[in-house]
């Protein structure tokens, strides 16, 4: 079946199986490989994207249900060649190690700051609690976010 939605500001049209998950459509059909597959069971957050501004694990979203909606990935945060402050600070504050959780982590932080520009440390930790970083880089990630909101 054909599904149309807005990906990072541009309308796209893809032919999908009714059972396909959004992660696979983004990666396999649209080449958005920043969306990672860590568990495919909604536990790790590596595939997190914004769906109409809300943070979702794309592995739990059936592709046909995004028809008419807007999907944002880390690629969509780059505007006129300028990377988002979250992408910049995570890099500068050593908020990345192996990097596999990073795109999902960026989107979780984006979702937080969109709603709450001045989060407390507890609110930052809560916001990224659905994103596993096995390199255990949480402290640096929190510091990177605090550098933005301070």
């Amino acid at each position: 079946m054909e599904v149309r939605f807005v990906l990072n500001g541009t309308e796209v049209k893809v032919d999908v199986k009714p059972t396909a998950i959004l992660t696979d459509i983004l990666r396999d059909k649209l080449g958005v490989t920043s969306v990672k597959k860590g568990c495919e069971t909604g536990d790790c957050g590596a595939c997190a994207v914004l769906l109409d501004g809300e943070l979702v694990n794309s592995c739990l979203v059936l592709a046909p249900t995004v028809a008419g909606k807007s999907v944002t990935t880390v690629e969509g945060l780059i505007v006129n060649g300028e990377i988002d402050i979250i992408q910049k600070r995570l890099a500068e504050y050593h908020g990345t190690q192996c990097g596999y959780c990073t795109p999902g982590m960026v989107m979780a932080i984006k979702a937080l700051l969109n709603k709450n520009p001045k989060p407390s440390e507890a609110e930052i930790r809560r916001a990224i609690s659905g994103n596993l970083c096995r390199c255990t880089g949480y402290q640096k990630i929190v510091e990177a976010v605090q550098s933005i909101t301070a």
């Binding site: 990672k36 860590g38 790790c44 992408q87 192996c98 990097g99 596999y100 959780c101």
Partner: protein, 420 residues
């Protein structure tokens, strides 16, 4: 150096990570690429009676099906070549892949895998290494469950005279410690992509932590010269030791040669937990003699390392841990017997501080108990026994440039230990 120390230097790849541009193996999409899934049986120990892949091969979209018959040299291993790429006679742990299918997509590969017919006779499994050592225990491998060290059952290390040491001790304590199996749980599951060119040369993209080791083993399994296999080491989405052994690479290489197409095999999270290597669950019996002032005199250790279904790096792990079994402490009389034991569990392998970490828990727990018995400060007990230049490890290595005292002193200062 002035431009580095005291400055915040971003990692060279950090901007690629935050913008999603880092290309991990699973991000590689080659034209015509096939996807692998494998057929398994639902028990941890069985004799394979027959494998029938006829129906699987007939599924539309399936390009290749392989069994042990397609593997030129099926058995591999770092020390003992006891591990099959695909088993021919026995399944020795739950989830062990028996048949591999390459198809146009994962759904088709799953469909074909469901049509593979494996006849087997279920055998009694053994999961506890101590049980596995008993005479009459179910045999994980024909010929016994204890791996050999130059013909001996145990890795034996002797230093000084341990019985004399115990006789000279004021106190003797004795404990049995057990640690649990650990899964590395890196966020990026195992994945590799292999492609063969017209001359049969193979390129494998993998997040291996040991590129040359992979190349060596893959050439051995395929029976080809080393210059015909190219390994492209890709960014690793977490390894922690768990990507030291070939996992998906053999199967991808063989299927790429058989089908002439690029082949990708990416493990699911379930496969990661079931069939990837783990840190071994060890059993440590430790008897330690010491003086009233906390000075360590003698230690006897019986160490059992559960290597799982195959030896792999197990022998090496045991050899490695013997040198560091007493941690950073001087013990002049040591008696050590270390066993590497097979069980019907997934294979164990390197994981952060390979093989040493388990014994640290036993060693440091005893140091705490010694502090309690002697009434000394736990730091004092450790300070008294720290290794220094000229000391000899149980494995006879004479130490030089030992910095552990300065390190511990710095920790005491930084942590404010004496103010707590």
């Amino acid at each position: 150096m002035g431009k580095v120390i005291g400055h915040r230097i971003p990692l060279y790849d950090s901007y690629r990570h935050t913008t999603g541009q880092t290309r991990y193996v699973d991000d590689i999409y080659l034209p015509g690429m096939l996807y692998v899934k494998t057929a398994k049986i639902p028990v941890p120990h069985a004799r394979i009676l027959n494998i029938d892949t006829t129906a699987a091969e007939r599924v539309a979209g399936v390009a290749g099906v392989i069994t042990h018959k397609d593997v030129p040299n099926n058995y591999w291993g770092a020390f003992v070549q006891d591990q099959p790429v695909l088993p021919d006679k026995f399944v020795r742990f739950l989830g062990q892949p028996v048949v591999a299918v390459a198809a146009v997509d994962e759904d088709t590969a799953y469909e074909a895998v469901d049509k593979v017919k494996i006849d087997y006779e279920e055998l009694t499994p053994v999961f506890d290494p101590e049980e596995a050592m008993h005479p009459g225990a179910p045999e994980v491998h024909e010929g016994g469950n204890i791996a050999k060290f130059g013909g001996y059952d145990a890795m034996m290390v002797r230093l000084g005279d341990v019985e004399k040491g115990f006789a000279e001790s004021d106190y003797i304590i004795e404990h049995k410690f057990r640690t649990a199996m650990n899964e590395h749980a890196f966020l990026e599951p195992h994945c590799s992509v292999a492609e063969a060119d017209a001359s049969g040369h193979i390129t494998i993209y993998t997040a291996s932590q040991t590129t040359s080791w992979h190349q060596f083993l893959i050439c051995g399994v395929l029976g080809v010269p080393i210059n015909t296999v190219r390994i492209v080491s890709s960014p690793t989405g977490g390894g922690f030791g768990g990507k030291s052994n070939p996992a998906t690479e053999f199967v991808c290489a063989i299927l790429a040669r058989k089908t002439g197409k690029p082949v990708k095999w990416r493990w699911t999270r379930e496969e990661e937990f079931l069939i990837s290597t783990v840190r071994s669950a060890d059993i440590m019996w430790m008897k330690t003699g010491f003086k009233k002032d906390g000075t360590l005199v003698a230690r006897k250790i019986r160490y059992i390392q559960d290597t799982g279904a195959y030896n792999d790096f197990g022998t090496y792990g045991m050899m490695k841990l013997t040198s560091q079994i007493n941690g950073p402490y001087r013990i002049p009389n040591v008696w050590f017997d270390g066993y590497v034991v097979y069980t019907n569990k997934q294979v164990t392998g390197p994981m952060r501080g390979y093989s040493i970490t388990q014994s640290v828990s036993a060693n440091e727990t005893q140091m705490e108990i010694i502090a309690e018995i002697t009434g000394l400060d736990p730091i004092e007990v450790r300070m008294k026994n720290l290794l220094q230049d000229g000391d000899i490890l149980p494995t006879q290595q004479v130490l030089e440039a030992v910095g552990v005292r300065e390190t511990l002193e710095a920790v005491i200062k930084a942590s404010g230990w004496y103010n707590k």
